[in-house]
């Protein structure tokens, strides 16, 4: 049987992430529904006339598509982290911890699964947005980096919620309490500049705002904004993932 080494710990994390993702993708309905919602939103809002003085094409390209891509990363990642609350209530952590697996490996695995789900979901919407609405993510590397950072941030937030919730319904309610305001205030459908006071200040506290803004800035070719937003998302990632990990660690190691 294997020795306990950093490489084995990483492999354990990969197995845990793989197992989580396998379960998520096993449920075809789950995948379809989680993607149908942002697709539906993207098409619905693409039909509305812009209220911001932009042309419809500019609105769709610079606001709506980047926003929906960021929002999809948020839903993908946070939905995936909901598995934590199920795992807690079903005693899955006990089963895994009874094996020679450290708590850290579980936390890393869960975080990887959340981030991967966010990235995959967002990429699907990015492809749809680029194909149908001609949104051009010319700097695809930067777009993927922003999606990855955003997905990690949302995974951290989802982990905190799932760690604090005592049962799945509570986690879902708490999650929606955060996600829906974030969706409306994060610049997905309406640009922050068009929001009345004090909403822009609230928007600036939300990670989705920076993901949306950065992806929009990739469209318009504004590297400084992309860089600044990436730094903010990195700070969010470190903060939320560390805090979420602390909560999970507390649950598992007591």
């Amino acid at each position: 049987m294997k020795k306990f080494t950093p490489l084995n710990s990483l492999m354990n994390s990969i197995y845990i992430a793989e197992n989580d993702l396998r379960q998520s993708f096993k449920s075809v309905r789950h995948v379809v529904w989680s993607l149908l919602f942002p697709i539906f939103m993207m098409f619905t809002f693409s039909f509305r006339a812009s209220t911001t003085g932009q042309t419809d094409i500019e609105y769709i390209r610079d606001i709506l598509v980047p926003g929906i891509v960021g929002m999809t990363a948020m839903f993908g990642s946070t939905n995936e982290t909901m598995s934590i609350v199920w795992d807690k209530s079903l005693g899955v952590f006990d089963r895994i911890l009874a094996a020679p697996v450290s708590s850290t490996s579980i936390i890393v695995g869960k975080t990887m699964a959340g981030a991967v789900m966010g990235v995959i979901s967002a990429i699907v919407l990015l492809i749809i947005g680029s194909t149908i609405f001609n949104a051009s993510f010319a700097n695809i590397g930067a777009a993927l980096l922003i999606i990855l950072l955003a997905s990690f941030s949302f995974t951290g937030i989802g982990t905190i919620i799932s760690g604090l919730a005592s049962e799945p319904r509570e986690a879902m309610m708490l999650s929606n309490l955060l996600r829906f305001p974030m969706m409306l205030l994060g610049g997905v459908f309406f640009p922050i500049s068009a929001m009345p006071m004090p909403l822009p200040y609230i928007a600036r506290a939300l990670p989705l705002t920076y993901a949306t803004e950065a992806l929009g800035a990739i469209q318009t070719g504004n590297p400084f904004t992309v860089f600044f937003d990436a730094i903010v998302l990195l700070i969010y990632t470190v903060g939320t993932v560390l805090f979420g990990s602390q909560i999970l660690m507390r649950i598992m190691t007591r």
């Binding site: 294997k2 492999m11 089963r95 507390r250 649950i251 190691t253």
Partner: protein, 333 residues
């Protein structure tokens, strides 16, 4: 015989709640040891501390010579845990579940495949190996949970309430599996709140109540310890709730304990010859008719009653015990 598990003064507080209180016992190599106690007695908390999943407030656990708090990974390689609830992944098939566990134990692909085939065969799950676990019956869940714990061929198997919630036929099958695993040379530590299970399966039993280990011996010895005690079993007719007879019969001088189990009133006494006529008279006086009366040797349940002053089935779980149980099983402190 060398000890497989040594538990010394194990204590666990959840806040101010004392869940396990200075529990000390050892499990000898290749024996089946049982922890018997009612729900909320502290069995699961003890098991979780033994497996290194819950940090004790104080005390030590040594498994196969390794201190759990210092060498948890060494310990985990040597134990297999069968939890009281099936915590396998319902959205995955039995084989995929076992594959996952095999990977976590670091089994290479070939060994993994061979062991999975072995355990699926052993637990009669081969035909349904590719079905999603969520469609399994309770008994199949239980068998698969045990199979998953055996994949890495542990020396020590720790089973929390292995037959809890199973129908009689499946429970019997699980007991047979436990006995066979023991015959193969595995040490087994199990918890149960079923007296007959402890009586049938274990070689030594520790009785745990309110977090304290109050007795430890072979089931036979525990029964013998109720010196001179005999049991009288009676069934009273007349459509009256048997429960109503308990306070009436409890008044009889010489009755040490009285319980209701499986529709029969069971009276424990050191002097049955003196109390039998009184029981018959009292039942008659109160309009009852004895359908059946028999004298029995004290059972393990009688020993339990004698030690704890209550039947294991008698009382619903107290609020405090319920809280302790939730704390032990959930992710909460």
């Amino acid at each position: 015989m060398e000890n497989a598990i040594e538990v010394k003064e194990l204590t666990k507080f959840f806040g101010s709640l004392l869940a396990v209180d200075q529990v000390t016992f050892e499990v000898r190599g290749k024996e089946i040891f049982g922890l018997l106690g009612p729900n909320g007695a502290g069995k699961t908390t003890t098991i979780r501390m033994i497996c290194g999943m819950l940090r004790p407030t104080s005390g030590t656990v040594v498994i196969a010579g390794f201190d759990v708090s210092q060498k948890p990974q060494e310990v985990k390689r040597r134990i297999g845990l069968v939890p009281d609830i099936s915590n396998l992944f319902g959205e995955l098939s039995a084989r995929v579940n076992l594959e996952f566990m095999g990977k976590l134990y670091g089994l290479d692909k070939k060994t993994r495949r061979e062991r999975i085939d072995q355990v699926l065969e052993l637990f009669q799950l081969k035909e349904r190996q590719n079905d999603l676990v969520k469609y399994y019956s309770k008994g199949m869940h239980r068998r698969l949970t045990i199979a998953a714990a055996l994949l890495h061929q542990p020396e020590i198997l720790i089973m929390d309430e292995p037959t809890s919630g199973l129908d009689a036929q499946t429970a019997r099958l699980v007991r047979e599996i436990i006995l066979n695993l023991n015959k193969e040379g595995r040490t087994i530590l199990l918890t149960t709140h079923q007296i007959d299970e402890a009586d049938r399966l274990v070689q030594r039993v520790g009785i745990i109540d309110h977090g304290r280990l109050i007795a430890l011996n072979t089931p036979e010895q525990l029964k013998n310890n109720i010196e001179g005690m005999h049991a009288l079993e009676i069934k009273i007719l007349n459509g009256v709730d048997q429960q109503k007879w308990l306070p009436i019969l409890r008044q009889i001088e010489g009755v040490d304990n009285i319980t209701l189990a499986e529709g029969k009133i069971r009276i424990l006494s050191k002097d049955l010859s003196q109390i039998i006529p009184t029981v018959v008279n009292l039942v008659d006086k109160n309009g009852g008719k004895i359908e059946n009366i028999s004298v029995a040797q004290p059972s393990l349940e009688d020993a339990f009653i004698n030690l704890t002053g209550k039947s294991i089935r008698e009382e619903p779980m107290s609020k405090e015990d319920y809280l302790k149980r939730r704390l032990a099983r959930s992710g909460m402190r």
